[in-house]
Structures are given as C-alpha cells and as structure tokens.
C-alpha cells in the first residue's frame, strides 16, 4: 500500500471530476477527520487515516481491501472507476439521469439506457458528460456517460441510446471476483 504518485492522482482526479466536478475537494477535506487515497494492488482505496494506520499492521499479501475501493489503474495507466465508488459519487453527482421502473432491470443487467426508458435528466447535460443513474425512487443504480445532450434527447427516437453504461450495482453479483 502506498500513496498515489502525482501522475496517478492527476489521472484519477480527472476521471472523478467528470462525475462530481469540483465536489472532489469535499472528498479530500472532510470535517470528520483526515481521509486519503492509497494504492494497493493497482487499486485505489479511500479511507480515513485511522483505518490506514491500523491497516499498516497487515502484510501486503494478506491485505485484501481497506475502506472503499474507488477503482483501478489499468496496465496502460488509465484509471477505471468501479461500482464500489458509487457510494461516494452519488451524493456529490452534478448530473443525474433517472430511469423508468421498467428499464431499471435492463440497466442492472449491463445495458445502455434507451430514450424509451429515460425518466428524467438534469438540465444542461452536455454530450459525454459523466452521469449517475438513479431509479425513479432515487436509489442510485450506477453511472455512465451521456450519449446526447439534454436538448438532443428531447427529439430523439425512442430506441436510441441516451446514456452509455459504465457500471451498475448488478456488478456486485456479476463481477464479484474482480471487485478488488
């Protein structure tokens, strides 16, 4: 386990800011203690300093996970967000998409959101903006990337894709092995 290098921090924060914008600083400067990001097995974990100290007792090969896993660095050095980060993305998300109850399941199975399943969308969403996907009951289901702007969405045919799927909570079951 080690702190992130400057390069890694930059890559990761760039990715995060696509979803939560300047709210990133709320993650770093928290009123309830010092929180930090650590890299372990190519994965980035977000934890409080208290837990970090305790976790240093654990040998590297015996440590499976600390705090919350945000995502991982690929071999090519890109950062990929995992669904486990949703708990911290959802409350700070700038742009949101709500899907209709019928589409919920389809999205949870890893499909894109079609226009026909779109319930609501935040105004002024630009194209390729990171969005968090909610059910109509305001339960966060995952996140993705807007395929079209809000304006374009209004006059699109029902079968075209509105949000590209990136991660959904169904992955807790589907990809349980690769979460960490």
């Amino acid at each position: 386990m080690r702190p992130l290098t400057d390069e890694e921090t930059k890559t990761m924060f760039e990715k995060l800011s696509k979803y939560i914008g300047e709210n990133i600083k709320l993650l770093v400067d928290r009123p309830d203690g010092v929180y930090c990001f650590r890299l372990h097995n190519d994965r980035v974990y977000y934890m409080s300093e208290k837990i970090l100290k305790l976790a240093t007792n654990v040998a590297r090969d015996k440590l499976v996970s600390v705090g919350t896993c945000f995502g991982k660095f690929t071999k090519t050095g890109k950062f990929r967000l995992h669904i486990t980060a949703l708990d911290f993305l959802a409350p700070y998300a700038k742009f949101k998409v709500w899907v209709k109850p019928g589409t919920e399941q389809s999205f949870l199975y890893g499909n894109h959101v079609l226009k026909s399943g779109l319930g609501r969308i935040t105004e002024n969403t630009s194209q390729y903006q990171g969005v968090v996907v909610y059910s109509m009951a305001d339960v966060p289901l995952g996140f993705g990337v807007a395929a079209k702007t809000t304006q374009e969405c209004r006059r699109m045919d029902p079968m075209s894709i509105v949000v590209f799927h990136q991660a959904d909570v169904g992955e807790f079951i589907r990809n349980e092995d690769t979460l960490t």
């Binding site: 007792n57 015996k62 440590l63 705090g67 919350t68 896993c69 909570v169």
Partner: protein, 706 residues
C-alpha cells in the same frame, strides 16, 4: 394502519381490500362504541370515510357478522395465501396493535402497510407443521400396516384416516398397537438386513418405540431392557432419516427421545428466508414498503430484532432485486443476527471479526457502529473473502479492513481489540436442513478435529482482546453446531486457560448451555451460554457464548504459553486425556476451573498446587482411564502415540518440575521475558504443530537453552 399509496399506481377509492378484510371487527365494535371517538388519532381520513359509509349502509352491516369468521386474504394473493397459516388466534383489533408495536421500534410512528399486518404474526411454529405431517404420515403408516394385522386394526386404521380423529381415538389406537408392539428378535433383524423394511413400517415402529420409551415402566415388554429399545430406535431412526450411526448417537445423547424426533423432523424442513435491513442506507419500514410493492410477502422477524424481516413468499428473486443490489438489505439467517446482538458493538470501537465470510455478521456490526470505529474482517479462505468484499461495498461499509490470515496467527498480527467475534468453523450439525450431507459425512474424528481447531482459535481470539478497554473487553464465541464437544467443551477449556469469565449474552431466549453432559462436568457459569435449536426456535441450530476478559495476563494455572501450544497440538489425544482426567478427579478439576478466576493476583501461591495436581494426573493417567474413559480413547495408531507421549511426559515431568519450580518464583516478570523472545516462540510454535517425535526433541533442546 393504512397502506401508503404510491401516486403512480393509485388504487380505486372506496371500500377496498382492507375494509373488506376488517369489516367484521370494525362494524361489530361500531355497534357498541362510536369508532371515531374511541381511537380518533389512529384513523386516517380515508378510514373515517369508510366508517361513515359503513354506518350508512345497514344492509352491509347485517351480513358482516356472518362474514366474520372468513378471515382470508382478500387481496390478489388470496388464491394461494390461506389464513390457515396464522397459528395464533385471530383477534383483529388487538393484533393490529401488536403489529403496531413491532413497527414502532423504529423512529417515528407512521401508517403501515396493511398487507404486512394481514400476514401471520409469528414465525411458523415448526413443531406444529412437523406434528401435522407426522400425523398424516402416521395415518398413512397405519393404513399400509394393516395388511398384516387383524381386522379390528383395519377398522381402527379407518377411523384414523377420518381426518379429524380426536385425540382419544389416537391414544386408543396407540394402546392397541402397543399391545402388539414387540421388539423384533435377532432373526427378524437379520432378515431385515437382507430385505429392508419399507419406510412407513419403520416410521410406525419408531412411533411405537418412542411411546414405550416415554412410559417405560408401564409399557415395557417383560425381560427386555431399555438398552434394547434404544438400540432398535437408533437403527430405525438412522434408516428413516438417513443419518450415520455416530451422529445419531450424539443426537440421542443431547436430546430426550420425544424432542429428538422433533429435531429430526425440523431438519427435514427448510428454515424461512430472512433478511436484515441495512440501516446505513434505509429503514426497515421503507424497505418493507419497497419490497411489498415488488410483490414480496413479508413480516417483522420477531420482537427481539429491529432489523429482521421474514420472507414468506416472493414473486421476484429476493437476492437480485434493485433494493438488494443497492445494499438496502442482506440475506441472512435469523440465527446469525444473534451473536452480533450479543456482541453489541459500540460506536467508535475497534472490532475484530475473525472468520467473517460471507460478511453478514461483519456488515451487521458495522451497521450497529454506524460506520464509526474500525472493523477488521478476517477470513482464512481467500475465495470466500471475495463475497466479504462485495457485501461490504454493497452495503456501504467504509470502516472495514479485510485481511486474509489464519485466525490462529491473530494476536501476532494485531491485538488490543475492544471486541472480538469468533464464528468458528464447525461441523455444521445445526444446519442440517441447509446441508444434509452432514447427516452422513461426520464422524468422531471430524468433530474432535474441529473442536481442536476451535480451541486454538478461541485462545488466540481471547489473546486479541484488550481487557483494559474502557467500553469493551468482550468476546463472542459462536458455532452453528449443536455438539457439546464443539461448544461447551471448548468454552470450558478457554475458561481454564485464560483470564476470562462468561457473562450473560443478552439474549432473552434460547436454552441454557449444558453444565454437565454424560461423563463431562463443566463450569457452572456455562449456564449463561445459549443454545438455539431448529425445532424450538425455528432458526438454525446455534450456540452463543459471551466472554468478558478481565485481565491481560495469562493465568498461571497451566504451565504458560509455550506449554499451551504443545498441549493444543497434541489435540485430540490430550483433550481425551483431559476428559478422562476429569473422570478421575472431578472435584480437582472443578477447583482447577474455578481457580484462575478467583486468584488473579495470587498466581504464585497457586502455581505449585496446580502443578502438583497436574503432575499427579500425569503420573497416573492409565489407571482411571482404563476403568472409565474407554469410549473417548482414540484407537489404533493414535493410542500408540499417546502411550509414547505419556511415557515421555512422565519422564520429563520429573526433570521439568524442578525447572518449573524455579520459574514459579520468577512468576510474571519472567514469563514476560519468555514472551519477548519471539524467536523462541516462533520456533516452538512451528514445531508445536508438527508431530510428537520432533516436538519432544525440540522441547528438550528448549529447556537446555533456558
């Protein structure tokens, strides 16, 4: 009470499902008292409207009393949901309040889903189901049996087949059968082994046999011993329920005959599916509402749990709803809530879950701590840890460290925890309903092996607790086994080895742990531990013990930490010796068990006496063992090994005792020195797990070094 309506799918107004269901009681009441005045607060505007309508409609009022007994489910589920499910007497107004209380455990009072209260209020008492089944089977059994019995019996059988034969009748038939019930002779048994009896006649014979055994003096056959009946019953039960001989024998030791049958029957039935609300993300009321909207029939688990829900039936897979994936609840057996409730972790504490997979208890701990403090979730199996990772993230637990150690290494990795939960790996005899393979796969060696592992784990768990913690210093030991060897015996062992005492677990139900079992005598405080059975509590068989550690020093009763390791590594052999020791001098052993608790400070004074006691026992291990402890003796090579070790020990005993006598003077200070030389420890530990040959060799070397 009223169902909160979803604006998106509004139901028609007017006397809907609810009013039809409760018509009887409400209108009856309204005859005597004006309903609105009696409970003005409780009624919603819509209920008041309905009441008004009812009052205007005299015709309806008339047929209400007739309808009253018909208390079915009037919603869309009525075709399959029958009111027969409800086992308690239905008293509509009161029971409504009852269910209210259940829900009021949560923060605010609100109107609750009508559907929830319509469902049965309690867990299904399994016994009843079992009994019912038994009765049906019995009648069938009699029916099939009558081929070879005389005509009068055929008539009797006919009577029973009349579904509602009253009890007198059944008793009479039993009496009749009893007269004819004779223990089959040796030839008959031999014949059976060639052509096995059909299951129904076996079942009939079990019934008759149990009847004789419960009233032995009156119904026994002249000249036949109880042993004969028991032997027959055992072999019959083994065939009928397909257990192996060993396990059945163990179970017969634990339960009286009538209870045994209930237990075996309960093992054939699945426990109800239960879920636990994740209060980090939602509230039970909201979760229940959301699930009901998805077509799930559920009910609060019981008065003892504020987060449990019991699922009767569901039209969607309960493990894949969006709510599940969003982490609003966890599929979890009712029994696994108990140890965490007993642990009662406080906010800001440091808690260790020693064998955490698949994370149900861990996440419950986190939820009770409201995501404060630190939880260390450990498991020895890396594969199973994946589910822990998944569940912890899904349920939004942020304060967990997940690691993959063998639990036995634990105090070395980190210690000083405020609370520790040890859900030890076990033979699984409490969860036969879940995994029927246990019925045939376990033998004595398996049980003793897991008992040994449990002892090691429990000791290292105790060592990881910080007794000086301001809020904690507690440890929960639990297993999903009902074997005494894996429960009371292990706990009793820990009481002797460490400065711990048992405290009430804070669970107001469950049966008390055994303080005496067959030839074993345990510390009287074992009464504070709790056992849970599938037939009496309708949850998996379970055992929970709560320890409080009152001192971080090791008690000097036994010969210190290094000796510990050797002792545990001798595992089965030593353990067996112990039990036989106990037989030899019960009084001594009782004193011994009590002593570490009483004399925390007087360790020095106590040591020699205990040493002597031990030495004395070491010197005469053969005498009483031969006399009594035959059954516990391991056979074959193990025995030979034991003999070898015994011989060596007795030799060493003399040499060591002088050494130890010296040590006693040094007492604790010296002991700490010993602990501080990690090389020594490690060496001994590693070898301690190996074979006896090496062990004794190195031990000698160790003494020389000292």
């Amino acid at each position: 009470m009223g169902r909160k309506l979803d604006p998106t799918n509004q139901v028609k107004k007017g006397p809907g499902r609810k009013s039809r269901k409760q018509k009887g009681a409400e209108t009856e009441l309204s005859k005597f008292i004006p309903v609105e005045e009696s409970e003005p607060k409780r009624q919603t505007s819509r209920a008041r409207k309905r009441a008004g309508k009812r009052a205007q409609d005299p015709k309806k009022n008339k047929d209400v009393p007739e309808k009253k007994p018909l208390k079915g489910f009037t919603d869309e589920n009525k075709d399959w949901l029958t009111p027969a499910k409800r086992k308690r007497k239905i008293d509509t107004p009161e029971s409504e309040d009852d269910s209210d209380e259940m829900w009021e455990h949560e923060e605010d009072l609100e109107e609750e889903a009508a559907k929830v209260e319509k469902l049965g209020k309690k867990l299904l008492p399994i016994e009843r189901a079992a009994k019912k089944e038994k009765r049906i089977r019995a009648s069938m059994g009699v029916g099939s049996d009558d081929d070879d019995s005389d005509d009068s019996e055929v008539e009797m059988a006919g009577k029973i087949d009349d579904a509602d034969a009253d009890e007198e009748d059944t008793i009479q038939t039993n009496m009749e059968d009893m007269d004819s019930f004779k223990l089959p002779g040796a030839e008959e048994r031999a014949k059976e082994s060639v052509i096995p009896l059909d299951l129904q006649s076996v079942h009939q014979r079990i019934k008759e046999n149990v009847d004789v055994l419960t009233n032995f003096a009156a119904k026994r056959e002249e000249g036949k011993d109880r042993v004969d009946y028991i032997a027959l019953l055992k072999s019959d039960l083994c065939t009928y329920y397909s257990y192996n001989d060993f396990l059945m024998e163990q179970l017969m030791d634990i339960f009286p005959v009538s209870e045994l049958i209930d237990f075996l029957e309960a093992n054939e039935i699945q426990r109800p599916v239960t879920i636990r609300t994740n209060t980090l993300k939602t509230r039970r009321r909201d979760l229940a509402q959301a699930l009901i909207n998805r077509g799930v029939n559920l009910d609060p688990l019981g008065k003892w749990s504020k987060v449990g829900l019991i699922i009767f039936d569901s039209s969607v897979p309960i493990g894949a709803t969006p709510e599940y994936l969003a982490g609003h609840y966890m599929l979890q057996g009712a029994s696994s809530l108990l140890p965490v409730m007993a642990l009662s972790p406080q906010e800001g504490e440091c808690v260790l879950d020693m064998s955490s997979a698949p994370g149900g208890k861990t996440t419950y701990i986190a939820q009770l701590m409201r995501n404060t403090g630190i939880i260390v979730a450990n498991d020895a199996n890396l594969e199973r840890l994946k589910s822990v990772v998944g569940n912890i993230h899904r349920l939004g637990v942020t304060n967990a460290v997940i690691c993959n150690y063998d639990g036995r290494q634990f105090p070395k990795v980190m210690g000083g925890f405020d609370r520790v939960l040890l859900d030890a790996p076990c033979s699984g005899t409490g969860v036969i309903a879940k995994d029927p393979v246990v019925k045939t796969s376990k033998d004595e060696a398996d049980i003793l092996r897991s008992a040994h592992l449990q002892k090691e784990l429990l000791l290292s768990a105790i060592d990881s607790v910080n007794a000086d913690s301001a809020t904690g210093g507690y440890l929960i030991y639990c297993t999903c086994s009902i074997m005494v060897e894996e429960n009371e015996w292990v706990v009793d062992y820990a009481l002797k080895k460490r400065n711990v005492k048992l405290v009430p677990a804070g669970l107001d139900f469950g049966t008390e742990g055994f303080t005496r079992f067959k030839e074993r005598r345990f510390h009287p405080s074992l009464r504070l531990t709790r056992r849970f059975y599938p037939h009496s509590h309708n949850m998996d068989g379970f055992y929970v013990a709560k320890f409080k550690k009152f001192s971080n020093t090791l008690p000097a009763a036994e010969t210190g930490p290094d000796e510990d390791v050797t002792e545990t590594s001798e595992s089965v052999a030593v353990a067996d010796k112990k039990s036989s020791k106990k037989e030899a001098g019960k009084k001594i052993s009782v004193k011994e068990s009590a002593s570490p608790k009483v004399q925390t400070n007087g360790t020095v004074a106590k040591k020699p006496t205990n040493l002597q006691g031990q030495k004395g026992q070491k010197d005469q291990p053969t005498g009483p063992k031969k006399a009594k402890g035959q059954k516990d003796q391991p056979t074959g090579p193990k025995k030979a090994k034991m003999a070898k070790v015994d011989a060596k020990k007795s030799k060493e005993g003399e040499a060591d005792s002088s050494d130890k006598q010296d040590k006693t003077e040094g007492s604790l200070v010296q002991k700490k020195h010993e602990l501080k030389s990690p090389m020594m420890m490690k060496k001994k530990k590693r070898l301690g797990r190996n074979k006896f040959k090496k062990l004794t060799h190195v031990l000698k070397k160790g003494w020389n070094v000292e």
